[in-house]
Amino acid sequence: MPQWAYLLIAIIVIVLLAIIFVVSFIFYKRTPPPKGCENIGPSEGKCASCNEKGCHFNIYYDKNKKNDERK
């Protein structure tokens, strides 16, 4: 096979990978989360009772708390 054919295959593979990424990203965003998984992530109630001071959610909540107290 000539060199240009290999190059063409390589370009097709790269473009295909980019298309797969974009399409799967769009589908991922459009797919609704399963039942019971709508609010996965940090919650203020749980974070307030957690003692992990290194966690960035706690740092964020602490900052907000201090700002509220100042006001």
Partner: protein, 195 residues
């Protein structure tokens, strides 16, 4: 030595003796960030294991059968990033659609894997070291299991340290880094095995 014994030895070597987190500092961000709870560390470790093995499975053939014949092996990093990002998205989509239980435990960690340098590092080292397909798979399995082991052990230690009486200045990340350094020294001791 039989092929299976060599394969298993390579896995153990990549897992314990040449652990990527402690010897090459790959995946430190998720190691420090997620390694504070055993449950989340286990979920993250499993997800990384899955993606590292899958990425190595896809990247090795692309490098040797597409990039090298085309004369553009220098494009490997770009292609690996695309492969890893696509894989994570496709796996995430599949989990979101088909397995709510798995989505609940892995859901928030899946996008983080795209930025985990351990995944890219393994795919890159497989081709840079000139490994065969079997060698690259043993490297991927060993490395990912090593990551899982280290992050879970680290989370166990951090959970115990949380309840211990430590100086205020050391609480959180400083103590985590001291713990990681002590673990690295402990694992360095394994390098004498077989010498």
């Amino acid at each position: 030595m039989s092929a299976i014994a060599t394969f298993l030895l390579a896995i153990v070597s990549a897992m314990l003796i040449d652990n990527v987190v402690l010897s090459r500092f790959y995946g430190i961000c998720s190691f420090i960030g997620v390694g504070n709870r055993v449950k989340s560390a286990y979920s993250m470790g499993l997800a990384v294991t899955f993606v590292i093995i899958l990425a190595s499975l896809v990247c090795w053939p692309i490098y040797y059968y597409v990039l090298v014949p085309a004369g553009i092996p220098f494009m490997d990093t770009l292609v690996y990033i695309l492969v890893i990002a696509s894989l994570v998205q496709v796996v995430g989509l599949f989990i979101k659609k088909k397995s709510p239980a798995l989505y609940k435990s892995l859901g928030i960690y899946l996008p983080l894997i795209t930025t985990n340098c351990a995944v890219l590092g393994v795919a890159q080292s497989n081709t840079d070291s000139g490994y065969t397909f079997a060698q690259s798979m043993s490297n991927a399995i060993g490395t990912s299991l090593g990551f899982l082991l280290i992050i879970v052990v680290f989370a166990c230690i951090r959970e115990r340290l949380e309840s211990s009486n430590t100086p205020k200045a050391f609480k959180g990340v400083p103590l985590a880094l001291v713990t990681a350094a002590l673990m690295a020294m402990a694992f360095m001791g394994l390098q004498g095995i077989g010498a």
